[in-house]
Every structure is written in structure tokens, then in C-alpha cells.
């Protein structure tokens, strides 16, 4: 004879990460599952926390640029630009035009490199091994170009407060044109390989749908937001540097599913190539650095500047107390804010699609954890 026990049912929890190969770094998700369906997801972050924001308080303004390289380690130059623009606005510095052209050309090349990496890794997330090879090959060409300009392949430390550190080498323009020609071919190859592949479509179409209203309320930005049909792009809506002089379109998706997020990035690659070509055409010789003191002491005050990163809207908030070191630096990292949208995207999806959804927001953990 048995006593009647209380049988409470509990949803099954499935831990994914932090060492999971598909989580793009050290990221942990706790999935609450009901059969094959994900009913809830809790992201756990902080495994890559290095305290960059605090470290910034101990470095002078010129040195902080090196730390910003290490936030989003796939799109370093875009991060540098964000901080330098903040410091320039704080100090009221006008940047020479040639420096702006170099900055924008390199940032767009970096966006291209970042998106190529996304196209490759996203295919890996879905089980296709080939596109990463092509994506990496094209990214390699861009990084070789970066090496010739900035002296490093990833941690450039090239964009400085008041301009860029050095002028580009004399053979930059022909080299960049050759790289763009190759990269355009590579992007087209990935396009043909993936975009309308039936298996790829079956894995991504209608998966992880997020509608425009939810996306906006989650604070989603960048290509992930544009895939939901909201044409918000800092380069268009709050133009900076020389973006107003460049003709480009903002690709916008329709359904807000994984396929749209992939395709918006693919189209952005073409826009970036177009933009770099325009920069190379319009570039005029001239100074690349403002004349100023090496140790910068901005006046007391605070400033918030935002830029378009490959992953979204990066914001930098700098408070100055009049010394040569910032009093406080706060970064609004696009990957971190985009993670908020993970839960509405993943609710109701299959476990097998969890990786596809996570991959489609294209997070970089170095930026999420800082």
C-alpha cells in the first residue's frame, strides 16, 4: 500500500553553454522546454567580463582607444570611431575631411568583414560547413588590407581623437579596389550557395519571428531590427562623418524571421562595397590629423554619441571632469541590447531552432560582457 505522494510537474530545464560551440563565445542559455518546444529562455552573460568601462577611467583619452578595439573584436574600427567621435565632440574638434573619408572607408570595410564572418558562422550554426571557408577567405583579404593601413590585423588602434594616426599607404586605393572586386564575387558566391537553398530556407524561414513593434520595444537595433521592417539606421537618421555625401540604401526585411536577418546583412554587404567605392572615388589629398596637444584635457561635461556598428546602434557616454582621463565611460553595446530580443524570438520555437535564432542576432560576447 502506497501513500499518495504529491506529483508536481516541473518544466524541464536544458542548459546550453557556456562552452557550447554554437553560442559564439562563452554564453549560456537556460532553456525551459516542454517537449520539443522552448517555452522560456534565460540568457546568462558575464563570462567574458573584463571591466573595460572601469579600465577606461584609468587611461588617458588617447589610450582608451586601445580598449575600445577589444569590445567588439570583429568590428574594431567601428568601435574606435564611436569613442573618438565622443571625445571629439567633448573637446570640440573638427576632423579633416580626408581623415573622415579614410575612417568611413575603413569602417565600411570592417562592416563587410564582420558581415562575412556572420554569413559563414551562421551557415555553420545551421550545419553547412562550406560558406565559412568562402567567408573567411574574403575576410582575409580585407584584413590584409587593414594590416597595410593600420599595422595590425585586428587590434588596429588607428582611428584617433582628431583624425587617423597615419595617412594610408600610397597603394591603398588600387589595393582596396582589387579587394572589393574579389569580395563582391565572394559575397555573390555565398549568396548563390545559401540564400535560396531549400534546406537553408527550411531552417530559417518563419523561424524566430519578431514583429516590428516588439523589436522596437526590446531595443533591437541594426540589421536585426531592419529585418523586421523598421528602416532605422544611424547612418541615415543621425548622419555622422561623411555619410550624408554617400549614396546608399538601407535594406529592410519584411517578416522579421531568421532568413530576413540573414538576407538584410547580405544586402548590406553590397551597400558597404558601394560606399567604400564612393569613398575611394571622392577622397582628396589633405591632412589626416588635427593639430592638437598629445595629452588631451577636455573641459568638464558629458557627451553621448551613437554610431552604426555592424551589429546595431553603439552608444558611448563619456563624462569628463576636466582631467586627462575620463571620469566615466559607458557603452551601450548593440549585441547586449539585442540579446533582450532573444526571449520573444525563442518562445515557442523548437529546441533545434534555438541555435539558428541565437546565431541570427549575431552577438559578439566581447561586447556583451565588456
Amino acid at each position: 500500500m502506497t501513500t499518495e505522494a504529491q506529483h508536481d510537474t516541473v518544466d524541464m530545464m536544458l542548459n546550453m553553454g557556456p562552452q557550447h560551440p554554437a553560442t559564439h563565445g562563452v554564453f549560456r542559455m537556460v532553456l525551459t522546454i516542454d517537449g520539443e518546444r522552448v517555452i522560456d529562455v534565460t540568457p546568462h552573460i558575464g563570462y567574458l567580463h573584463r571591466g573595460s568601462e572601469k579600465l577606461c577611467e584609468h587611461e588617458s583619452y588617447g589610450q582608451v582607444v586601445t580598449l575600445f578595439d577589444r569590445l567588439d573584436y570583429v568590428a574594431n574600427l567601428n568601435n574606435e570611431l564611436a569613442f573618438c567621435r565622443a571625445a571629439e565632440r567633448l573637446m570640440d574638434i573638427e576632423v579633416p575631411e580626408r581623415a573622415q573619408y579614410i575612417r568611413v572607408a575603413l569602417c565600411e570595410l570592417n562592416r563587410l568583414a564582420s558581415h562575412l564572418l556572420f554569413l559563414g558562422t551562421y551557415a555553420i550554426d545551421l550545419g553547412a560547413m562550406t560558406p565559412i571557408m568562402y567567408g573567411f577567405r574574403e575576410r582575409e583579404r580585407i584584413q590584409n588590407l587593414f594590416e597595410s593601413v593600420t599595422g595590425a590585423r585586428m587590434m588596429h588602434n588607428y582611428i584617433r581623437i582628431g583624425g587617423v594616426k597615419e595617412d594610408v599607404p600610397p597603394d591603398f586605393v588600387p589595393r582596396a579596389r582589387a579587394v572589393l572586386k574579389d569580395v563582391r564575387k565572394g559575397v555573390d558566391e555565398i549568396d548563390r550557395l545559401l540564400t535560396f537553398n531549400e534546406v537553408f530556407l527550411a531552417r530559417t524561414k518563419g523561424v524566430g519571428v519578431i514583429d516590428a513593434a516588439t523589436a522596437v520595444s526590446c531595443g533591437l537595433t541594426g540589421p536585426s531590427l531592419r529585418a523586421s521592417g523598421v528602416a532605422y539606421d544611424v547612418r541615415k537618421d543621425d548622419p555622422y562623418e561623411i555619410y550624408p555625401y554617400l549614396g546608399f540604401e538601407v535594406p529592410v526585411g519584411h517578416d522579421g524571421d531568421c532568413w530576413d536577418r540573414y538576407y538584410v546583412r547580405l544586402l548590406e554587404c553590397h551597400q558597404s562595397i558601394h560606399m567604400v567605392t564612393q569613398c575611394l572615388d571622392q577622397m582628396e589629398p589633405g591632412p589626416t590629423m588635427t593639430q592638437r596637444r598629445r595629452i588631451a584635457r577636455p573641459p568638464k561635461g558629458e557627451v553621448y554619441v551613437h554610431c552604426e556598428n555592424p551589429r546595431g546602434d553603439i552608444g558611448v557616454f563619456v563624462v569628463s571632469d576636466g582631467t586627462d582621463k575620463p571620469y566615466r565611460v559607458k557603452v551601450r553595446p548593440p549585441s547586449f541590447c539585442n540579446l533582450v530580443a532573444l526571449r520573444p524570438m525563442m518562445r515557442g520555437a523548437y529546441i533545434a531552432d534555438a541555435v539558428a535564432i541565437l546565431g541570427s542576432i549575431d552577438i559578439v560576447l566581447g561586447e556583451v560582457d565588456r
Partner: protein, 185 residues
Amino acid sequence: MYGLGVLKGFGVTLKNFARKPFTVQYPEERSVQHSRFRGQEFVWYEDRCTGCASCAKYCPLGIIRIVTDPDGGHEQEGGDYKVEVFDIDQGRCMYCGLCVEACPYDALHMGSTFEGAQARREDLVITMEVLKERPKHPSTWFRPQLERQEVDPFGGEPVESGDAGREAYRWHPKRPGDAPGGAEK
């Protein structure tokens, strides 16, 4: 027709199958690097260095350690300090190149190699003796004068200290071994 996209993809892979590989077999072959590449093995010209420690002050990580002796025997002539210790802890270096930019006398340059693995952490600290003896193959990062001379850090000739500066070497006019241009002042 279902499967057309897959077939199209196969076409792309087939085309790449016949292509020349993009990768190089690293230890045997090497890809061409630009002379601006900021690598390991700093190049330091002892006679150009005045011991001002600008590099140590501008290093974001503070990994350059300099000890100088103010009584280096030159103080009467308005000369330099005697550098006694010049250690660079490469184990923590991030190769940002700010020390090179800070150097007012072009005494410190970035190196160009990248194969500096060591078995022990202590071996990553490069001392003044090592820096003195090393063949001088500076990177042209932030050294437009070297770029103008078309210095090739990967197998070219070592750069003499007289050629490494931004202009004619004339900061220490009373020192022996002055480069041309020093005598005027």
C-alpha cells in the same frame, strides 16, 4: 523545382573545387606582410635613447620599466640620462604601438616578427641587453621616414641608427658618432 537552390550551391562548390587554394602552408610558405605590421621584438637604438621614459608613461599597461641614472656623466653638457634598465614585458604587451608614437627621438620602433613563443613567462620580458644585440629590423609603423626609404623588415638590411630618425640626428651634438647635420648646432 524543389532542389534547384541546392544544385546551384553545388555549382559554386564545384567551381571552387577547381580553384587554386587561397591558404598557404605556413611554416614552409609565408604570406607577404606589409612593412607596417606591428610585431614583436621591439627595435631600440641605444644611442638615440635619452631615457626620457615617454614610452613608459604612454604605455596603457605600464609594461615598460626604465631606470635611469641622472649622473650619467652628461649632465654638464646638457646631455642625456644613462639608461640602466630598459625592460619590456611582452607577456602583457598588446602591440598597440603607443610607446613608439610617444618616442620623441625615434629610438624605439616596433618589430616585425610574430613567432616569439616562450616556454616560460619570464622569458617574455626582453631586457636592455637583448634589445642592444638584436639585429635592427624596425617596422615602418608611424615611421614615415622608414617608409620613404622603403625599409623591408622581412629580410631586408638592418637599419642603422642614423637612418632611423625623422630628421638629421642632432640632439646630442657633443657625442661621438654624430650623423651629418649635428655639427651645425
